[in-house]
């Protein structure tokens, strides 16, 4: 997921919807862009959870499948 990215934009899938993002955007910046509180979700990229401490280090890549799992606690 962390490789040099020379394109201006990249196409990704977010929660099942195709979207275009600016290149070199990390997961923390993605949440800001989408106006999502970072303390409310887990982020899954290509079927693996990305730990919160890595969000500012992991750059989105073309064709990434990104899911935002909202925390639920009801029982």
């Amino acid at each position: 997921m962390i490789t040099a990215n020379t394109q201006s934009f990249l196409r990704v899938e977010i929660n099942g919807t195709n979207e275009t993002l600016p290149a070199k955007i990390c997961l923390s910046e993605l949440l800001i862009l989408k106006n999502i509180c970072p303390n409310s979700v887990a982020i899954v990229v290509n079927d693996a959870v990305v730990p919160k401490s890595r969000w500012s280090h992991v750059l989105c890549q073309s064709h990434d499948r990104i899911s935002l799992f909202s925390a639920v606690a009801g029982g």
Binding site: N39, S40, V44, A48, P51, A71, V72, A73, G74
Partner: protein, 266 residues
């Protein structure tokens, strides 16, 4: 117990017929102890499935009483139970389903207070089922399970979003609940505020019970997979859980184990 009676063969034949469970798997169930924290929509169904499967003993923890709004989704309770402690009603009902089961109940909320006492109550469990309705208790249950290398089956649902996973902390490389959701996580949804449909709760609870039985019978193969269920779109998603190197719970346990190893070697 190391053999089944003729009656038990008949009673549990549907379990035993599964080639990977067989008699050995049923005996494993019948020698197991499980802990269920929370006896709401999730816990009451997990308890019924595990009792019916034949577990030897079960510890139930919940400080709530049966309320009218519980009845549409908490099928263990009926109108005449209103106002009674859920653990007491559950104990009575489960004993009917399995007369051999040993039931221990605690009508208290699991909190930071006396955490070591709670840990001792959980430590002998083959599986700890987190069926609670709040993030604070979920974090505490996780902390105990990580520290004592227990197996945690965690389920949660609010509105149309359900989540469930199973981690065996004795062989864990995939992090924990705290790695997934830090202590300061904001909840987007809450049952009391968002509502929930009984059958949707049942889906998550059934999966918890299934994971638990499969763990006990050594047939579970999806440790550390987080499953998300959308009960409106009927879509399942799964994701591999990953340890957060900054997780306080995992780090504290690793440091503790390192100290123990050092003491053993010196």
């Amino acid at each position: 117990m190391n053999t089944l009676s003729a009656r038990q063969y008949m009673q549990y034949s549907s379990n035993i017929l599964l080639h990977d469970i067989g008699e050995a798997g049923q005996l494993a169930i019948m020698n197991s102890h499980v802990v269920i924290v929370g006896l709401g929509g999730l816990g009451q169904l997990v308890a019924q499935y595990l009792a019916a499967a034949g577990v030897k003993s079960m510890t139930l923890i919940d400080n709530d009483v049966v309320a009218l709004s519980n009845l549409p989704r908490q099928l263990l309770y009926v109108d005449s139970d209103l106002g009674e402690l859920k653990v007491n009603v559950a104990k009575r009902a489960l004993a009917k389903a399995n007369s051999n089961i040993k039931l221990t109940v605690f009508a208290h909320r699991l909190t930071h207070q006396h955490l070591d006492v709670w840990a001792r109550r959980l430590m002998t469990a083959a599986v700890v089922f987190d069926c609670t309705d709040n993030i604070e208790t979920r974090q505490l249950i996780n902390q105990i399970c990580v520290a004592h290398k227990l197996t945690l089956v965690s389920g949660a649902i609010s509105a149309y979003q359900g989540q469930v996973f199973c981690i065996d902390f004795n062989h864990n490389q995939c992090g924990c609940y705290r790695c997934l959701y830090p202590a300061d996580i904001h909840l987007a949804q809450h049952c009391a505020q968002q509502g929930v449909l009984g059958p949707a709760v049942g889906v998550v609870a059934s999966l918890q019970a299934l994971f638990g039985v499969q763990h006990i019978t050594n047939t579970f193969k999806a440790y550390g997979k987080l499953h998300r269920f959308d009960a409106q779109a009927f879509v399942w998603q799964s994701a591999q859980m990953v340890r957060d190197p900054d997780c306080e719970v995992c780090t504290a346990t690793q440091q503790h184990l390192a100290r123990e190893n050092h003491d053993d070697n010196s």
